[in-house]
Amino acid sequence: MATIDTDLFKPELVFFDFEAEDREDFFKKLGKELGDRGYIKDTWYDAITTREANYPTGLACQAINVAIPHTDPEHLEKPYIAVIKPKKPVVFEYMAGMGDPVPAELIVNLGLLQHAEGQVAILQALMRVFMDDAASADILAQDTPEGMVETMVKYCVAE
């Protein structure tokens, strides 16, 4: 098992009650937050919305409805994972068009740079968490950025 790069989770990239009218609005506002903090390039918004339109990332998991939007590394300045709990669910199309659109209660934006093992380990860990009722409930119950990072990290390093 690769070591998980838990430094990718950052309190400054945890957002609660995030207000967004729809998916475009969500990406516009998230892009502003990420851009202001120097994580992404100007090309990010177009890249991630195009990518999401072609390869949607909504997932109705066993325990939670999530979306894991991501884009190609060339649109990033540095790697990160942003965790967003929207005020009201943001509708994402189901990955691979496998089902109905997913009203995502939690959005995890993966700013991954490459095939770095630790980053993939994080994705796998996230998927494990989203299949687990107790872990998902625990994550949704968090209300501070530090608590969210701590909880994410806790479940991601647990085997």
Binding site: N54, L59, A60, M95, A96, M98, Q114, V120, Q124, F130
Partner: protein, 94 residues
Amino acid sequence: MKKIVLACGSGIATSTAVAQKVSTLLDEKGFKGQYHIVQCAIAEAASQCADADLLIATTVAPAGITCEFVSGLPFLTGMGLADTQQKILDIVSK
């Protein structure tokens, strides 16, 4: 030797996560050394699949593939995972 192509939008994130789960599954079931996995972006899948036995993707099946196709989504969501695993094992045992 079975060739399994694993594809997602970019060939980076979800395909890697699924690839590791698929190889764990196959190794556990005794197929170690009898298969190899090629990862790619879905745009390259059709050409990669020309000589492949199985395509597993986290996107819709691309047009023009000639090998078997299995969705990799159950490895991400947990929904229908047992069926998907069985389907992969059946294809690899052929």
